[in-house]
Amino acid sequence: MHKVRGALLTGLTWVLAAAFFFPVAWMVFTSFKSESDASSIPPTIAVPLSFAQYAAVFDRGAGSYLLNSATASIGSTIIVLLLAIPAAYGLSIRPIKRVQDVLFFFISTRFLPAAASILPVFFILKTLGLLDNITALALLYSAMNLPIAVWMMRSFFKEVPIDIVEAAQIDGANLRTEMVRVVLPILLPGIAAVALICFIFSWNEYFLATLLTSFQARTAPPFLASFVDGRGQFLAVLSAASTLAVLPVIIAGWAAQKQLVRGLAMGAVK
């Protein structure tokens, strides 16, 4: 009886998980079909598959958009880490006064919708001639992700045994060696989690990208959104473009699942 129920629950879990994943699987599968196979009903399964749609996507300039996405995401992740790691250190291991106030400030900036700042940001960038500039976009993404990064980093820092830091201090290690030699190695998994989450949020960002870039600095999300032109069949080529845009994050997310789960849980709960 107990075993039967267990098997049923396992089966149910499997079916539901597969159903939940179906849109992604179907997107990848469709991306290898021809246009007519892609939009035939009933759906086709046993059809010739090819990379033709991917070639078409790159012909439409997907390469430069993906490169822009990578630049903005990796650039902003580096900026965020450079700012968040020292800040979290100052908020946990060597706490300043009014830690609570500072933390509250950071999380409140996260609650501020992009709507609150988009207009001035748009006009400032326009005045400075920085519209359609990938560096400007990377800086804005850094501001967007900094609060989460500080919060997550701080909860990872709090797990560093204070004895180790104190021992290093007694040894006369100054701040920099204390941080680089003693604390950083313990923190590496946490830093990886924070970096991954910042990368994902930046890579997937659409609102700022669509309003602040047009051609030179266009990233993948607005490129995708402008992909459907309504002429003829486009399901297969759209699926190919979407797969390309989605793949880096999915692979990164799967590979670092443990860190991701831990990071989200810690960042969220602690």
């Binding site: 700042s117 850094s142 979407s242």
Partner: protein
């Protein structure tokens, strides 16, 4: 802490200069992040408030002038604000509730040991990783399209007529997509909560003859309270700002014109900067109010006073 450490290492009372230096180091560590954040988020918000007090239409750029709260009067008395607020609350509230419920279901299913549990979890968290723009397009065309969508094919197999989701049920379309994307987020937080339960106590309860349902109602749910609370709060705040699927799937038609989409429309299509800024300020205010309210109500519904700890 730092000061005592230093006095131990130098073997003497720290001099004032040294103490001052010691307190400036951590402050110096926090300051760059703080300044960066203020420059890029707080100052623009203050400027938005200033914008909202201006009569500024891009079509007449030479006529910018101060007109105090006129834009707010226009916002609150105009025909767009209330429907938009309603759309925002409906879409956010329903999506948060659905993704919390489904997320809880998945979390409970995954909180057992079974073959392939890691793979099942991987499959379930994937929608959260999918770029929202791509998710919106795939759902709009590949899943929900009236002619070639897989959902309609499924309905057809069940002998049901096809549904033109995107044009006839735009709100449902957006909610389906958002629920799909945010369920994994809820699931991860709730799963973390489930796994932090004390297994011994649960076992003791089952030995004492408490059935799984009673154990869940009286032990697991109260324990999950803070996790549900945080998942709901974070989900609400992220979803209140939602823009991508609306811009891509419905363009604000059929009751899907949320506040953030309305602001975009006013500023970048209507070119009325003053009014758009007023909408921005109101959106921020609503975000704060709704996040607080949503939290309280959710709690009354979910755990109706069966938690006695404060």
């Amino acid at each position: 802490m730092t000061a005592t450490m230093q006095s131990r290492t130098t073997g003497a009372r720290p001099r004032t200069a040294e103490r001052r230096r010691a307190s400036w180091v951590p402050r110096g560590l926090v300051l760059p992040a703080l300044i960066f954040s203020i420059l890029l988020t707080q100052i623009p918000f203050v400027v938005t408030i200033v914008f909202s007090l201006l009569n500024w239409n891009q079509l007449r750029p030479s006529e910018i002038q101060f007109n105090w709260f006129h834009n707010y009067v226009v916002v609150f008395t105009g025909p767009d604000f209330l429907p938009s607020l309603f759309s925002t609350v409906t879409i956010t509230g329903t999506s948060v509730l659905l993704s919390l419920l489904i997320g809880l279901g998945f979390a409970l299913l995954l909180d057992r040991k079974f073959v392939g549990r890691g793979i099942a979890r991987t499959l379930i968290i994937t929608p959260f990783l999918v770029m929202p723009a791509a998710a919106a397009l795939i759902w709009k065309w590949s899943m929900l399209d009236v002619n070639v969508g897989m959902i309609n094919y499924g309905l057809h197999l069940l002998g049901l007529p096809p549904v033109s989701w995107n044009t006839d049920f735009p709100v449902a379309t957006i909610i389906i997509l958002l629920t799909w994307q945010f369920t994994p987020f809820m699931m991860l937080i709730l799963l973390a909560g489930l796994q932090s339960q004390n297994r011994d106590i649960l076992e003791a309860a089952s030995v004492d003859g408490a059935g799984p349902l009673r154990t869940f109602r009286w032990m697991t749910l109260p324990h999950l309270r803070q996790y549900i609370e945080i998942a709901a709060l974070l989900g609400t705040i992220m979803l209140l700002q939602v823009f991508d699927p609306i811009a891509i799937m419905t363009k604000g038609t059929g009751g899907t014109k949320t506040l953030s989409y309305l602001l975009y429309e006013r500023a970048f299509i209507g070119l009325n900067i003053g009014e758009a800024a007023a909408f921005g300020v109101v959106t921020v205010a609503v975000t704060m109010v709704v996040a607080t309210l949503a939290l309280r109500t959710l709690f009354r519904v979910f755990i109706e006073g069966n938690v006695r700890d404060a």
